[in-house]
């Protein structure tokens, strides 16, 4: 059985770890490095850093945060927010990231997906999709952290993105994000059955059990968690235990002695 991955998602604004609801009303949680280290020590499988204002200002604040994380965190790191070119991707990978997540710039220029995948490999190119429900079983792609609509259908866009070379999909439900209401399972299922690359479900995890639906019914390969971890409503060990008890494959992790 393939192991699902438990991923901590850190949304960043300037130097701070923040959290919003529907990607808005951002509240400062604290230091990104302290939280990232805590999740690493709890045995998180991967980290995702998203600079949530980078698209707005066309800047990327993440380089320093990632560079410092790479000193004492030894699990894969995906970094997104404000990556507009192969050069931006190169910089962030040199800072210690393993993969880049691209949303706004990929919508504006799908060729960027191909360019990054050709240069660094598909496994390095994560297509980040912000989805809002617009009808029965229909979702629209948003950019700029859930602010701008694009008119693109999520399922059509994910197929296009994977055809362009995306090796993985980070799928954020803007409707569920920060609400603790559970994942948008229908959205996860629509996307994971449309493409063969791994899909990371993000947005809405209120309790550890919520991941079971995303994986078993939605077909997610990984779940990204923020609120539930930042507010210490569960730690990675508890979440892993819930997945394991439900019969899901997870990474065998023992706290180091």
């Amino acid at each position: 059985m393939k192991n699902i991955r438990l991923i901590a998602r850190l949304d960043i604004k300037g130097p701070n770890l923040i959290k919003g609801i529907h990607l808005e009303g951002l509240r400062v949680i604290g230091s990104p490095s302290e939280h990232a280290l805590r999740y690493y020590q709890q045995g998180v499988d991967e980290l995702i850093y998203m600079d949530c204002v980078a698209s707005l200002y066309g800047r990327n604040h993440l380089g320093d945060i990632v560079r410092s994380a790479a000193r004492d965190i030894f699990v894969p790191m995906t970094v997104g927010g404000g990556i507009r070119s192969v050069d931006d991707a190169t910089q962030i990978l040199r800072a210690g990231a393993d993969k880049v997540a691209v949303n706004t710039a990929a919508v504006a220029n799908p060729q960027l997906i191909t360019d990054i995948a050709r240069r660094f490999g598909s496994q390095c190119m994560v297509l980040s999709i912000e989805a809002k429900q617009v009808g029965l079983e229909r979702w629209e792609v948003y950019t700029d952290n859930g602010r701008e609509r694009t008119g693109l259908d999520v399922v059509e866009w994910v197929k296009r993105g994977v055809a362009q070379g995306a090796g993985e999909v980070l799928l954020t439900s803007v409707d569920r994000e920060g609400t603790r209401k559970g994942f948008d399972v229908a959205l996860v299922k629509a996307v994971s059955s449309a493409v063969s690359v791994p899909v990371i479900a993000s947005g809405g995890m209120g309790k550890p059990e919520d991941l079971l639906e995303a994986v078993c019914d939605g077909g997610a390969d990984a779940v990204a968690m923020a609120d539930i971890l930042h507010y210490k409503r569960a730690d990675i060990g508890e979440i892993r235990a819930v997945a394991q008890a439900a019969g899901l494959g997870v990474r065998n992790y023992e706290r180091s002695t």
């Binding site: 790479a70 990978l93 180091s256």
Partner: protein
């Protein structure tokens, strides 16, 4: 206090070496990144990293005159650790984009990860994620290898589409399972070791392997 161990990482333009460097530094090593043949020949121990395509990597090593250098490291019994593509390069040849010759330090061939599970279902390629390490069938104890401090079942982080299969099962010391197939995870011959996974991205399990290499 004994001096920090020196580790030389071959910088031949494939992939990001920062994580490997940071992982080794975390284990107390003095790390040098270089493509200079003289410095590599003089090194105490050498890491051959690599991501990307086999053929490109061999061409880069040839252009930098490093193929003969790495082969002579093996003759000198300098500890050598190949990571991911760096492990695959240790073998004689690869099937990636036609047959390409490798360094030939461990007999064997690099072949695609099976695209179907043993039960016949399509499986995702590349194999990405955490998989548990287990002793290979012909392997003896992990004692005396870089896995000395690793326990069977410890998980490591893999990202790969091809796998390095040694001809002699005795050179295969650990496997992981993907879709029911046994995939070589660690291979070893004399003082040469190859890891298909990324020890620098495998948490404490990976750091223990790097620490053991630094003490080699």
């Amino acid at each position: 206090m004994s001096a920090a161990p020196d580790v030389t990482v071959i910088d031949y333009g494939v992939g990001n070496l920062l994580s490997v460097q940071r992982g080794l530094e975390h284990c107390g090593a003095n790390v040098t990144l270089t493509a200079d043949p003289a410095r590599i020949l003089a090194a105490e121990r050498v890491v051959l990293p690599g991501v990307g395509a086999f053929g490109n990597a061999m061409r880069a090593l040839e252009q930098l005159n490093l193929v003969a250098v790495i082969r002579s490291l093996a003759r000198r019994q300098t500890p050598l650790l190949g990571i991911c593509l760096g492990m695959q390069l240790l073998l004689e040849e690869s099937e990636e984009f036609g047959i390409t010759a490798g360094l030939g330090l461990i007999p064997g061939r690099v072949v695609p990860v099976p695209a179907q599970s043993v039960s016949g279902q399509a499986q995702k390629i590349p194999h990405i994620g955490w998989s548990a390490l287990q002793p290979s069938s012909a392997a003896g104890s992990w004692s005396g290898t870089l896995l000395q401090d690793t326990r069977p079942g410890d998980a490591a982080y893999f990202v790969h589409s091809f796998m390095a299969v040694p001809t002699d099962p005795a050179h295969r010391i650990a496997d992981c399972v993907y879709g029911g197939h046994l995939i070589p995870a660690v291979i070893s011959r004399d003082r040469i070791t190859g890891c298909q996974f990324h020890p620098e991205k495998s948490g404490e399990v990976g750091l223990r392997i790097l620490r053991r290499f630094c003490a080699d």
